[in-house]
Amino acid sequence: MEKARRNKLAIFIFMLPAVLLFSLIIILPIFMSSYYSLLNWDGMTKGTFVGLKNYMELFTSKSVNFPRAVSNAILLAALSTFIQLPIALFLALVLARGVKWEKTFVSIYFIPVLMSTTVIGQLWLKIYNPDYGLVNVLLRSIGLEHLQRVWLGDKKTALIAVFIPLLWQYIGYHMLLMYAGIKSMSPELREAAKIDGATEAGIDWYITIPLLKPVIRTCVIFAVTGSLKAFDLIYILTNGGPAHASEVPSTLLVSMIIGRNRYGFGSAIAVSIIFLCFFFAIVIRKLFKTEEVV
């Protein structure tokens, strides 16, 4: 078997399509972007080579304020990991135990993920609308008028108001992954534990969750990299405003590349996002590995 596992030709055949596709569409553009990030270039006319100047501006310019965008994104990643994923895990565990209408619930919980971002965006615009939005109407009806806000237009609340729909929409996404993970475990383990008198919660904690670790790892990686790249919904809800309060790296990138024709500078943002995401993805993998050894 060991010899078969070292079959060079098989390795080549299995890897070739993936490597080809990946180098062409992912790796090559990363190299191109890295090169562009060293240019002062509007994306159309001839650019001039400026070395690391774009990166220096990125980290020092007050008007761009890249560090704030990054810290906003990291906050989103943290919320995603510590609030969204536990909720998803809880739902997956409860559903996988076998409750009434289990399949129906699984299907329904996934619906927000299936909906187009345009719909979700428009819906939340209505929820947050300052006059007739659901949040303010609700506050008014229970006599808490003083808590009413222009949720998406107030510098203090815009960021969190944008994050809530993002976190909510993807709960179903992670739930489905975890649910599938739990369901593909062999049921004998749980049965055995049950016979030994373990409670449902105990089984979940000591048996299911440890076995689910590879899937949870994948979810954490998706949640973190997804947060660092989040764009669509933020663009619809606030487009980074007001006055940059809900700016994240991607909104900054788009406004530089597309709005301002600063292709070189935008590419520097892109390279930074790639670096950050990759860094976190590797760290997450490492974290999960060391735990396995222990």
Binding site: R5, I26, R97, I111, S116, Q122, S186, P214, I274
Partner: protein, 280 residues
């Protein structure tokens, strides 16, 4: 399921209650999209945002269906998404097997490099990919979308496949090897069938990425005969003013197949999960 009823108790009831409330929250967008598709701008913006439409404007659907070539766009979307799913799952499963079960130098590094695919912001890669596609004489064709979509979905598919393949015991492979199976045989007869649950899950996630994708579809396709549905819907909005009702209707039309496919798939997942679990 009997297990649960045996215990009964307030805790159970609380949980069921919570699950039902959560389900209603998750269903709300669907309801909202449907009512939205039957209203006009004055109701959508202010007068009646969550209620049922005062006048049911089925004309929005006529407007959505007769603008552009929605039927063609729909078929294009199905073709592009379908090919992307097939291509990506096959490539991802093959690579996952090589990366996790075959032994070679550098596979860990390669495995990590594949995660780069999760990191690339779409907007920054538009121009490089457009230049690459142009050099391959591939713009304005179905593959101008299928290939980038597959590449962008690949990393995700690999990660999911990775986390599921860990649950397949190596002993099964050993046994098949002793029975005279080669690597290819093991892949086809042991790994693929056991990965079926993962396969359905992966397919759903690839579907999600490809079906709603907008930027690549706008930039890489200029000829409207290859246009996809998401771009078609987008062209329903005008430059300075937009009639939102028909957009709502178009979005309902675009979401229905998603819901159908998903409910079919989720039945499939459930089935294959049972098969997988029994075999595992």
């Amino acid at each position: 399921m009997n297990r649960i009823q045996e215990k009964g108790g307030i805790g159970r009831k609380l949980i069921t209650g919570f699950l039902i409330i959560w389900a209603l929250i998750q269903l709300f967008p669907l309801y909202w999209m449907f009512t939205f598709s039957l209203k006009d701008n004055s109701e959508i913006f202010g007068e009646n945002i969550i209620g049922l439409p005062r006048k049911w404007l089925w004309g929005n659907y006529t407007a959505a269906l007769t603008t552009g070539k929605v039927g063609l766009y729909f078929l294009n979307s199905i073709l592009v998404t379908g090919c992307t799913i097939v291509l990506t799952t096959i490539i991802a499963l093959m690579a996952t097997y090589a990366l996790t079960r075959l032994v070679w130098k550098g596979r860990k590094v390669v495995n990590n490099i594949f995660m780069l695919g999760l990191t690339v912001p779409v907007h920054a890669s538009i121009l490089p990919i457009l230049i690459i596609l142009r050099n391959l004489k591939m713009t304005n064709s179905y593959q101008a979308l299928i290939i980038p979509y597959s590449a962008f979905a690949l990393s995700m598919a690999l990660l999911i496949a990775n986390s599921f393949i860990e649950g397949i015991p190596k002993e099964l492979e050993e046994a098949a090897f002793i029975d005279g199976c080669g690597v290819y045989g093991i892949f086809a007869r042991i790994i693929l069938p056991l990965m079926a649950p993962a396969l359905a899950t992966i397919a759903i996630f690839i579907y999600l990425q490809a079906w709603n994708e907008l930027m690549f579809a706008v930039i890489f396709i200029s000829d409207s005969k290859y246009r996809t549905l998401s771009v078609g819907i987008q062209t329903l909005s005008g430059t300075y003013t937009t009639d939102w009702g028909p957009i709502g209707a178009a979005l309902v039309i675009a979401t229905i197949p998603t819901l159908i496919i998903y409910s079919l798939m989720s039945v499939k997942i459930q089935e294959s999960l049972v098969i997988g679990a029994v075999k595992g």
